[in-house]
Amino acid sequence: MSNYALISIIICYLAILFYIAFYAEKNAKSKWVNNPFVYTLSLAVYCSAWTYYGSVGIAANSGISFLPIYLGPVIATPLWIVVLRKIIRISKQHKISSIADFVSLRYGNNRFLGALITVICVFGIVPYISLQLKAISETFEIMTYETSYMSTNIFDDSTFYIAVLLALFATFFGTQTSDASEKHRGIVVSVAFESILKLLFFLIIGIYVTYFLFDGTSDIYNKISLTPNFESLTKINGLEAGFDWFFMMMISFIAIFLLPRQFQLSVIENTREKYLKQAIWMFPLYLLLFNIFVIFIAWGGKLSFGNSVNAEYFTLLLPLQNNHVFLALLVFLGGFSAVISMVVVSTLALSTMVSNNLIIPYGFLDKFIKGQPEKNSKYIKNIRRISIFIIIITAYIFYINFSIELSLYSIGLMSFVIISQLAPSFFVGLFWNRGSSKASIIGILVGFFITVYTLVLPFTIEAFTGIHDFTDHGLFNIAALKPYALFGIDFLSPPAHAFFWSMSANVLCYLIFSLTSKGNYRERNYAEMFVDSRNYSSLQDSALVWKGEAYVSDIKNVLNKFLGEERAQRALNLFFLKYKIPPNTQMADARLINFSEKLLTGSIGSASAKILIASVVKEEQISLIEVLKILEESKETIANNKILREKSEELSNLALKLKQANEELISKDKQKDEFLDTVAHELKTPITGIRASTELLMDEDNDMPSEIKAQFLSNMLNDSDRLSRLINNILDFEKLSKGKHELNIKQNNIKITIKQAISSVQQLAINKGIAIINDNLVDFVFSYDEDRIVQVLTNLLSNALKFTEPNKGKITIEYKMINNFVEVYVIDNGKGIPDEDFEYIFDKFYQSKNQNTIKPHGSGLGLAICKQILEQHHGKIWAKKSNKNGATFVFKLPFM
């Protein structure tokens, strides 16, 4: 394919991307632009040229070790719901625009920390970008058979123009507003589009290699398995390689959060938190699809070319070898897409950092304070534009001069290890409020220097001088300082080894210095806000640790400079409205200070915002002791409140208990009164009868007929009996209820006991013409007080007799054993128990309202006594509801 044809195609392709980005920018609110798919696909910026070409190279040369780079993110995705959501929330609240901003804000807008992180990111990412340019250049060369990248004149080099086009693209869509925390929908949508293309084209070439050049996966496998060294390509080599895998996965786990381009797209460009729910399964799926054919392409390439060509470009070389130029072009465009998205997003993210965390806070602030609002905004945009160009040009220069000999894979990993130095400050700082800025700076610096010593330095020395002395013998020929085998750890691959040492030292420094040094009040306030992000707003609003003097008008002036008068006024009005502060307030309070800093953060970064605001605020340094005092006081108030609440709860509980006890007493008193009343009433009735009859019989001039006289005498007798029965019952009941009555427990036979009870009422039954049936002949011998059970049975039988009609009545007694209890049934065919009585029949002196017209004379204690007797036996008595006529009483006794 000719040079110009390919360039035209590239320009056409870029034009399409411009159009898509433009469309998305114009329709930023459309649901085509805002949906979880676009969000997830944009995250696939992770798959750069390294993935697209590099994975195949690794797979061909060292087997499946390309995988951990994708397994790390897959493991990380479930955590997004918790961790990434928290990061997104905090970033939105603070108008964060980059990872440097995020970390420096966490440690109290530390200017130096922000700058340090920016430098580290630039150091780590620029070579990575240059690698992407190298990929374009090399693939361009393969497609056109030209050797432009060897040219000494950059203006002859097509890669240079491509780099410039990319810079233009990033500039155009990345710096539409001066507020970097604003969304860049155009870039996001074009990245998502490119993600589709690169996956699609990669799958096409995968299918092509596997099913057209070869006869499917098993064909490739069968052929490759015959080649020498095949074993080493398909397995993890022992425990040591396992460690390697582990560290690689950790590195990529961290990278998916911390790479500036990932942070940019997953956090800054996130429009809705809920997209995470889809992203956590779609993103791993994307990575899986991307990796399906890697191994087959690699094997296919190896079978076709052996070791004669660069395995990273098998995807291009295979179709070209078979004269499928169009297919090769698709692959080229897929790789080109991967490059564009990586380069554009990375430079955008880096340029924001460079401008907001390096250039503005360290040089241009004074200028801005004096400048006009329109000019300021223009300055900021220009700084960012220039940064983008400088970054891309630097990457280009780096590529021209250094990266010719470096593989995509090794530079990519180096970049990952450098970026991962931010991890302790980032992750631990999110969940641990003690982490301090000093510790963070020391940790990052130490980790960074170790990475340079153990990875960057030996790698570059070897690559450019070809001398292995440093690697083989260590610094000053000390074996323990061998960069690839520090202190004798020689079994890890260089990146894993560097990661292990740098990360250990980094974490250790971070923890030790965090524990030994406390940050200033500002830092601790922000730490609290980050760690406890749910209480963020209350922390932010109360902002209790601020002491100083500031005028609203001064702050307004600063805001005017950056936001323009109109926007500044609008924001302030909103603020006053929200907190119900009169708009003519003169002195600013802590909330306004915080609010203004937040407003400025998006434009100039948090560190600069702090410095700017501080310039108009006469802030008094609050000593740590004062801060602690304030915190203590608020803590004490909370604690006091808690104690008070507990006490009052205790008191009210006590009052409730007293009330209950009182009620119980009253109720007992009342019960006793009622009992006595009822006893008196029950006693009086027969006495009244006896007294009245006696009076009549005693009458002097008695002309009473003798049969009436006999009737009265008989009544007197009955009443007397009733009286004595009643008295006995009352005494029984009292004894039983006070537990004074001791049972006379012996082995008895229930059959005999029942017979005894029946015989005591037999005469009454015969008189009334009622049959008592007891057919059961089973002997159950167990322990109980026979007299008492006879009393119960007699009572139940008399009740049954009382409530059944003469001559028609029938009473049945049954008993059986159920669950180690002997249950005895007394069943009659009388009028039954009305529903309303059911609950009360075992209460003392309860007499049914529905008793027969002629009142059956009961003491009202019978069933109550039965109940007590059974309770003493650890048994139970109850009445059964039945549909049929009649009542059924059941009692059960434990069989023992």
Binding site: D677, A680, H681, K684, T685, P686, I687, T688, G689, R691, A692, S693, E695, L696, M704, I708, Q711, F712, N715, N718, D719, Q847, S848, K849, N850, Q851, T853, I854, K855
Partner: protein
Amino acid sequence: MKKKILIVDDEPNIVMTLEYTFKKQDFEVYIARDGKEALHILENNSPDVVLLDIMMPNVDGYQTLQYIKNQDRLKQTKVVFLTAKNKASDIEKGLKLGADKYLTKPFSLKKIVSEILELLN
């Protein structure tokens, strides 16, 4: 004309003595064994006096008194409680509800007769 008395009590032994006594005093005696029966009798009869127990099944003495008080037809009927409830509060309650006399059990038949005759004259 014979005076009419309605005796309402659920204790047959007691009723028997009262019945004998008032028949001897030349009263026309009606007997009810609870409030319900009493109301039934009162539908067709207007006795001069009702001797009323309080604690009875179905319809108690208070309810029976209420019924009598609400009937214009029974305006002339005197009501005498005859009950074992002898607490001061019970007596007060009974009189407040409109009973003409409140007598307690156990009782002297002679006293009952004199109290009722006094009430009727």
